[in-house]
């Protein structure tokens, strides 16, 4: 017996020269080898069938293969029509490959932990300096890496191989197949193969497959991952880092694998060398023997190939088909029909009812004959071949149990009946590019549209290539990364709407995003009138970089309406016309804000009793007479009102009285003194994280939208809250560097309809232009919708947590989902911590926001659950039945 020991540090080796290298990482245990391979036995090279490889081309004795990566197609939360369109596209693509043999392979690409960490580190050069004794930025990245490792995050990859020609091209001629230069006259066969290859490449590039030829490096990765099934595979970074391999380990073309199989054994044993560590895996290959009918309108039915990537177990698939034109099957289809009818007739001769399977066969044979004889090319096209699933495990018993579980799941969820046959070694080799697939049994024939419903490239992946690891995506093994400035990077709105019932985790998620921005050195403002976010300023790692600003204790005139909307800068506009328009827009918004604020400063009964509109009119006249220039003194408006008749004088008197109160004094500076904006600017620029609160203010009730039922103090806080949110928003205009402003719901729900509409539009556009994350936290989407019905279009991303049925329906537009899509049921069924998230690209996914990896101090600061996390138990604590069979 020989035990292998290794100093290999597992899948998270330290990056040299980077700060997190000191962190201990996951240690991978080398398996017991039980004396195999016996040192006394000389290894016999068993070579793969591939002879030459050139970029995505592979030459085997069977001919020339070309390999492509299929582009992922969005599948979850799509409309039935969109899904049908995908299936239709893929049907056409398969029909385009008529006459070829195709090899479709599904693999799992591990999440590139190292590359992700490196990118985070390199993308944030302005991160906050480390605070002695507190968590460092490297610790954050390390925790994020550990989290993705713990999730076993991986992404599906679908590879398509096409046997382009049975002509065995010589290695020297392979580059000629990809060139365009004229070929010599004696190279007619090469010219024919080149033509075929160009046709295949053009066909698979079209909609549905969107396939791209594999790079040589990617093809190596596919071979590497296929030969060593069950062994760790480095991430391929197929769509990410252009440098290719990450530092997780660069393998050779493929390290040798030692396969063995006992006679008629249920598994093949693979002993694999990976980074000097030996791994033993038992591989069981299951064949799809039969498929039930599939209802393509069933929204819960996943594609039968992509479905394998959603299982808890690591399951890979391989489908090998000959794509046959319908006309060649006409005779066989007729024979099938006649045979089935003869069988039925024979039973009737004996006064026996034909078996139901025979009657179904007759019916199906008629349809097949009609399709192949009279159908269009796509309808007539048939695929004949095998579909195989490979499951792996550390030992035979585990593998067989996994195979049994997968078989049950396949039958139950997909109507796909799997069988476990012999000849496992040859079946395993079929998973390797270029190898021969045994086609003696388990042959299934299906129309192209049925095979297309397998949608091998359907993906649940969403989110960004880098960013905050939000949590795992439901229905996949992928992790959702949220780039806080991903919208601006894509030249779109960088406004994110975060909503949900109390306790669903929206506030803590928003605060965590604020903290994530702050530690990266991004100037961040959190506006939370009720105050819990202020605890962020006490986090040890933010010491000296965070400021808690209580506006109620601020100086007089800090919330002057005409200071809350800054003038646009000339250098930010290409032409004078657009700059002038922006100036006009800013003036108009200031006036709207001033009108809303002055109206709300008046007693509620006075405003609601204004049936003639005299009060509203007087305020509008006074404000518009003075204009919307930056820095207009509110006392000037009061003076104008005093000269505007009885109504104006009444309003002015009320406003002067309000200016004497604590909250009103924030809007009005000292009388006869100029407006001074510098203290406010300085307050915002002094810290990486500024949390603005309104302590001492009586806040409106969150669950009562009817203002007539609010207390007087709550009504009086409305304009202050609204102006406070504008005060926070001014940060985004400070410079062009990334910024983040997150606003709690109170600041939004109390905003006036007139000013909020322009505020939302400006936020959406300016968040892009000024590279700012603007987060709007709300409880009920109706609040937002009532203020601006276009908020769904203005938001670049959205997080929707658990809500009741009515609110959930209103939240669908934020997710860009149709009202009649039925996904409001998914929202009402969300558990605390779960969100339906629309990423910056418009893909909606169910994401569980996993807080387990958060910094304990952050977690404690944001935990608003009474008694702390985990105090609530669903069970009654009576464990009398525990363990009873």
């Amino acid at each position: 017996m020989r035990t292998t020991t290794s100093g290999h540090r597992g899948r998270l080796p330290a990056l040299p020269g980077l700060p997190w290298q000191r962190t201990p990482t996951v240690v991978e245990q080398a398996p017991e080898f039980d004396g195999e391979p016996d040192p006394a036995r000389a290894p016999v090279p068993t070579q793969l069938r591939m002879k030459y490889a050139h970029r995505h081309l592979l030459v085997t004795p069977e001919g020339l293969w070309a390999f492509y990566r299929l582009e992922g197609v969005d599948w979850p939360m799509q409309t039935p029509a969109a899904r049908q369109a995908v299936i239709a596209d893929q049907t056409f693509r398969l029909a385009d490959l008529t006459g070829k043999r195709i090899w479709i392979r599904g693999l799992s690409n591990p999440f590139p932990h190292q590359a992700y960490a490196r990118r985070l580190y390199e993308d944030n050069p302005d991160r906050l300096p480390d605070v002695p004794g507190a968590r460092t930025f490297a610790d954050v990245i390390d925790a994020a890496q550990r989290h993705t490792i713990a999730l076993d995050a991986r992404r599906p990859v679908a590879i398509l191989g096409v046997l382009v020609s049975d002509y065995v091209v010589h290695a020297e001629h392979l580059p000629l197949l990809l060139g365009t230069a004229p070929l010599a006259q004696n190279m007619g066969e090469i010219a024919r193969v080149r033509r075929d290859l160009a046709e295949v490449t053009a066909a698979v590039r079209r909609a549905g497959f969107g396939a791209q030829p594999l790079s040589a490096k990617a093809l190596r990765w596919v071979i590497h991952a296929s030969v060593g099934l069950g062994a760790p595979v480095p991430p391929a970074l197929l769509g990410g880092d252009p440098k290719g391999w990450s530092d997780d380990g660069v393998p050779g073309f493929t390290n040798p694998v030692y396969p063995t199989e006992a006679p008629y054994a249920p598994t093949t044993v693979l002993r694999t060398m990976r980074a000097s560590v030996q791994h033993t895996a038992h591989v069981a290959v299951l064949h799809a023997d039969a498929f039930d009918e599939r209802d393509t309108d069933n929204p819960d039915l996943l594609p039968f190939l992509a479905w394998t990537q959603t299982l808890d177990h690591l399951v890979e698939y391989c489908a090998v088909f000959d794509v046959l034109p319908g006309r060649t099957l006409k005779g066989a289809a007729e024979l099938d029909r006649r045979r089935a009818k003869n069988i039925a007739a024979h039973h009737e001769e004996h006064d026996d009812d034909p078996p139901a399977a025979v009657l179904r066969g007759i019916e199906r044979a008629r349809a097949v004959e009609d399709e192949v004889a009279n159908g269009s090319r796509e309808v007539a096209c048939r695929l004949r071949g095998v579909v195989m699933l490979a499951v792996t495990g550390p030992d035979e018993a585990t593998t067989l149990q996994t195979a049994a579980d997968v078989s049950v799941a396949a039958a139950q969820e997909q109507g796909m009946h799997l069988v476990h046959d012999y000849g496992q070694y040859d079946s395993y080799r079929a998973f390797i590019p270029g190898e021969v697939c045994p086609m003696s049994g388990h042959i299934t024939q299906m129309p192209a549209y049925f095979a297309a419903s397998g949608v091998p490239n359907a993906t649940s992946s969403a989110g960004d290539p880098t960013g905050f690891p939000l949590g795992s995506i439901a229905g996949s093994h992928d992790v959702f990364l949220f780039d806080t400035h991903g919208g601006a990077r894509r030249n779109k709105s960088n406004l994110v709407a975060i909503g949900g019932d109390p306790g669903c985790g929206k506030s803590s998620t928003a605060a965590a995003l604020a903290e994530w921005c702050a530690v990266r050195g991004i100037r961040t403002v959190g506006y939370d009138p009720s105050g819990p976010w202020a605890r962020l300023c006490d986090l040890p790692h933010l010491a000296g970089h965070a400021r808690h600003l209580s506006l109620t204790g601020g100086y007089k005139g800090i919330l002057v309406p005409h200071l809350m909307v800054l003038d646009p800068r000339r250098e930010d506009y290409d032409d004078p016309g657009s700059f002038t328009a922006a100036m006009e827009e800013a003036r108009a918004e200031r006036m709207e804000l001033a009108i809303d604020s002055f109206r709300d400063l008046l007693p509620y009964s006075m405003v609601t009793g204004d049936r003639t509109g005299a009060i509203q009119g007087s305020i509008e006249t006074a404000v518009t007479d003075l204009g919307g220039d930056y820095g207009i003194n509110p006392w000037a408006i009061v003076d104008r009102l005093e000269r505007a008749g009885d109504t104006g004088r009444l309003i002015a008197d009320r406003l002067k009285a309000r200016a004497l109160l604590k909250d009103g004094a924030l809007v009005f500076p000292e009388r006869h003194r100029d407006v001074d904006d510098d203290p406010g600017k300085r307050l915002m620029e002094q810290a990486a994280l500024t949390v603005i609160t309104m302590e001492g203010l009586t806040l409106p009730p969150k669950d009562q939208p009817d203002r007539s039922l609010w207390s007087r103090q709550a009504l009086a806080s409305v304009p202050i809250l609204n102006l406070g949110s504008r005060f926070a928003m001014r940060t985004i205009y400070a410079d062009r560097k990334p910024k983040a402003v997150l606003l709690d719901e109170l600041g939004i729900s109390t905003g006036g309809a007139g000013s909020f509409s322009s505020f939302a539009v400006r936020s959406a556009f300016d968040s892009r232009k000024w590279n700012a994350l603007v987060g709007l936290v709300f409880q009920n989407p109706n609040t937002l919708m009532a203020l601006d019905a276009q908020i769904g279009n203005l938001a670049g991303a959205a997080f929707i947590g658990r809500m009741d049925d009515t609110a959930a329906r209103a939240g669908l537009p934020l997710l860009r989902l149709r009202d009649d899509s039925g996904y409001h049921h998914a929202i009402t069924a969300l558990a605390p911590g779960e969100f339906l998230v629309r990423d910056w690209l418009g893909r909606a996914r169910k994401v569980y926001v996993d807080r387990s990896w958060w910094d304990p101090h952050l977690f404690a600061a944001l935990d608003t659950t009474p008694g702390g996390e985990g105090t609530y138990r669903d069970d009654d604590g009576d464990d009398i039945f525990t363990g009873v069979a």
Binding site: A40, T46, V257, R294, H346, V358, Y425, S440
Partner: protein, 166 residues
């Protein structure tokens, strides 16, 4: 409710010969089982006849009766064996796993690398595999399978074993 299905329901029909009209067999057998039995029985009858214990039969049934008994016995035994073999094999044969598949499986199982052999198999690409990343690079690089630590270890271990043997 639009549903789609494979062609297998049409292609996997199996004929069951119930017997002549008005005289059905008391058993059911698939058409391919009949064919297999018809092909197998004559062979097994001949084999049974060849293996028959003729001295014993001639001792018990002297004269021409021995030939008759041998013949009848061979037929009975051959047919019975043919039916038995057909039934045994028939259980394994289905439209998705035809007889040829089992023959192919036998070949695969025979050729598969075994654990308990003098030599172990190492699955790897050919050492002469051409790898060329850039289209402009007309001279392909030769990529060799990197030497394994295990191979070195194996050599060392082999030497140790030899030393111990001495």
């Amino acid at each position: 409710m639009p549903t789609i299905s494979t062609d297998d329901a049409a292609r996997r029909q199996e004929f069951i010969w119930l017997g002549p009209v008005n005289s059905p067999w008391p058993f059911e057998a698939r058409g391919r089982a009949w064919i297999m039995a018809v092909l197998l029985c004559p062979v097994l009858v001949v084999i049974a006849g060849a293996l028959a214990p003729r001295p014993l039969i001639e001792a018990a049934f002297p004269g021409p009766a021995a030939v008759l008994v041998t013949g009848l016995g061979s037929v009975v035994i051959g047919v019975a064996a043919g039916v038995g073999v057909t039934r045994a094999l028939g259980r394994l044969v289905s439209p998705t796993r035809p007889l040829a598949h089992h023959v192919a499986l036998l070949g695969m199982e025979v050729a598969a690398p075994r654990e308990q052999t003098a030599r172990t198999h190492r699955l790897a690409p050919q050492a002469q595999a051409w790898i060329e990343d850039a289209p402009s690079n007309r001279t392909p690089r030769l990529l060799l399978v990197p030497p394994l630590a295990q191979d070195d270890d194996a050599d060392e271990a082999t030497n140790e074993v030899k030393e111990m043997d001495r």
